[in-house]
């Protein structure tokens, strides 16, 4: 890693691009179509979305770092299994950590923490980036993609909680309770927003907005 540091500053322009690209032009969810499953399942409220985003950023950045460090000594034929074992070990750490320090969140997320293993975002970045790059850029790529994923998760989770339950992070904002911020407007809960189907609609519309702004992403077929 010190070799890289001598050749270029740690946050050179190229490395900054690794961090910022996945936030918009190369977003893992809306452009690369990776990691959709968990994006839909955990986003009914804002809090689990944020926790999930943090867990994924941790797993993907360290998995990228480890795989990029051992990419030269790893035999090609068994690389999938090696990658999966590394991811599974990291996810197990996250799972045990959550059980110990945030038990109710861990219960709420139930099997979805385990499902980070099969979150294609982690596997996809390992195959597409970490296998061919040095550890430090791979680590940044992991953080960047994790942030891009988290951004969508937080937008979807925020919208669904706000319109589905009228709250944000549990604080009443829109609903009709006494003491809620906008209780005067008499907003009624929208039941559809609480179902996972709403996440599909929101992501579909996000894709629409993004592609309307950025014509080169438009799918012609």
């Amino acid at each position: 890693m010190s070799e890289v540091a001598e050749k270029e500053p740690l946050l050179s322009k190229k490395n900054r691009k690794l961090l910022s690209d996945p936030l918009d032009d190369n977003n893992p969810i809306t452009v690369q179509v990776l990691g959709i499953c968990s994006a839909l399942a955990v986003t009914s409220q804002l809090k689990p979305s944020i926790i999930m985003a943090i867990c994924v950023i941790f797993v993907i950045s360290f998995a990228n770092l480890i795989v990029a460090s051992i990419r030269k000594i790893m035999p090609g034929r068994i690389r999938m299994i090696v990658q999966l074992i590394i991811i599974a070990a990291l996810v197990t750490i996250v799972d045990i950590f959550l059980k110990a320090f945030a038990f109710d969140v861990s219960k709420e997320l139930s099997v979805f923490i385990g499902l980070i293993i099969t979150n294609c975002i982690v596997m996809g970045r390992l195959e597409a980036f970490a296998m061919g790059n040095k550890p430090w850029p791979a680590f940044l790529d992991g953080i960047g993609n994790g942030l891009g994923y988290g951004l969508i998760l937080i937008i979807v989770g925020g919208l669904r909680e706000l319109f589905g339950a009228g709250t944000l992070l549990g604080f009443p904002i829109l609903n009709a309770d006494e003491g809620s911020f906008l209780h005067g407007i008499g907003y009624q809960h929208n039941g559809i927003m609480a179902t996972p189907a709403a996440a599909m609609f929101i992501i579909g519309i996000l894709i629409w907005i993004q592609r309307a702004r950025n014509q080169k992403l438009v799918d012609i077929s």
């Binding site: 809306t30 179509v33 990776l34 990691g35 959709i36 499953c37 968990s38 839909l40 399942a41 999938m80 299994i81 999966l84 074992i85 599974a88 070990a89 996810v91 197990t92 799972d95 045990i96 139930s110 099997v111 385990g114 499902l115 293993i117 099969t118 979150n119 294609c120 596997m123 559809i192 179902t195 996972p196 189907a197 709403a198 996440a199 599909m200 609609f201 992501i203 579909g204 519309i205 894709i207 629409w208 907005i209 993004q210 592609r211 309307a212 014509q215 438009v218 799918d219 012609i220 077929s221």
Partner: protein
Amino acid sequence: MQDLINVFIKSAFVENMVLAYFLGMCSYLAVSKTVKTAFGLGLAVIFVLFITAPVNWLLHEYLLKEGSLAFLGESFANVDLTFLKFIAFIAVIASMVQLVEMIIEKFSPALYNSLGIFLPLITVNCAILGTSLFMVQREYSLAESTSFGLGSGVGFFLAIVAIAAIREKIRYSAVPAPLRGLGIAFIITGLMGLAFMSLMGIKV
């Protein structure tokens, strides 16, 4: 027997892995451009689920669960290895997928070529690992788990073939350009999910 049929119907329709839990979305969206490849992937998923669910059940029951190592002697009676379940399950799934890959390559090279990268990616299809994890969480028996695996597979098959058929037709419709392809696929899936929610009230 009644019980097994109930688990099957429930997992295939009422609690469809794709349309009720939204698991297995990546391959569902990526491979659903034509009915033919969707059909092939659906069959492969049914097969993998049908094998991995009982194998993982046995693994969990006789090696990982608290107290399951008691047959090794007194000192192992309290060993709880459930924290290893992610690693153990994924290893079983990865090896089963490898097996399916070899079988398909041998018997249907055309299907093998059209599935391409998505065959190894069945390993990271969340519907497969999700089935194993749900099965542990719901404390199914061996027979129920097998039925649950088969039902989830059939559910995935139905969902992916249905959306592939819709996407083949929608290519001829006037969808706004930025919404074409992926965007509209998301919205169709959302609508299908809403339709499947109407089955949720059914008690089986």
